[in-house]
Symmetry: C2
Subunit: 117 residues, 2 copies
DNA sequence: AGCTAGGTACGTAATTTAACGTACATTCGT
DNA sequence: ACGAATGTACGTTAAATTACGTACCTAGCT
């Protein structure tokens, strides 16, 4: 299943900003910013585990449709990753600024990401 | 009237991003990014003039409440300005990244802003 | 084959958002 | 003092967002 990902040039500022304008999704982006692929369930646990699976699916969709993350089926899991290269190509510096700002305001749960400078 | 402006430390990423995640408000920010103060009506005209006054008032409110703009009564007009210093102090580089990205996607209407190299 | 884990799809409800018209407040100009 | 300009406030409506529960699908395990 897993709906379509927009191509790089289909990504729209409006969608990226409103996707990241939700606190849960901003935290998800922070978690994924550590790099690599993360299973949906594992990311869900870092959010406090008090969010239903169907609600998380909704957030994956918003992030995917906006072009912020990529979703890839792997066995019975679905792996998530930040579309860092695509976002950087389209909006140089934007993602880092947002992540730096977010990190300054909220530390990433269950991880040890450090603020830039 | 003109509701309260959040202090610099009351500004929240979540609110800034969702405020700018609306295409109309993003354009407003681009217009105000030219600097100085702009009257509500003048800004409204640059948006196409097909937006009602009450709808614009709603957008001014969202932008004000999120800390993106400042509103100041001056005579019978209300002047708007971008809270660039406050945003830069709280989230260094964020506003410029967003404005650069927005400018790359949509030129600012009725103005001649140039992209930051 | 049958069972379980990991997610998605669907339907639903509550809240928020966006947009508008109308009425009102304030201030400038006459 | 009066009238027009400039916005805000309020009430309303339509649509989008957020969140859940339940049902279901697929892959891996036994």
């Amino acid at each position: 299943m897993i709906g379509r990902h927009p191509t790089t040039d289909q990504i729209r500022m409006e969608n990226v900003l409103s996707a990241l304008g939700n606190p849960i999704r901003l935290i998800i982006a922070q978690v994924l910013a550590e790099g690599g692929e993360h299973a949906c369930g594992a990311v869900g646990l870092q959010l406090g585990a008090d969010i239903s699976k169907s609600t998380l699916t909704h957030h994956w969709r918003v992030l995917r449709d906006s072009g912020v993350i990529r979703q890839r089926p792997a066995g019975r899991e679905t792996l998530l990753s930040l579309r860092r290269e695509d976002l950087d190509a389209r909006y140089p510096g934007l993602l880092d600024s947002i992540l730096d700002a977010a990190a300054e305001e909220n530390p990433v749960p269950h991880s040890s990401r450090q603020a830039a400078s």
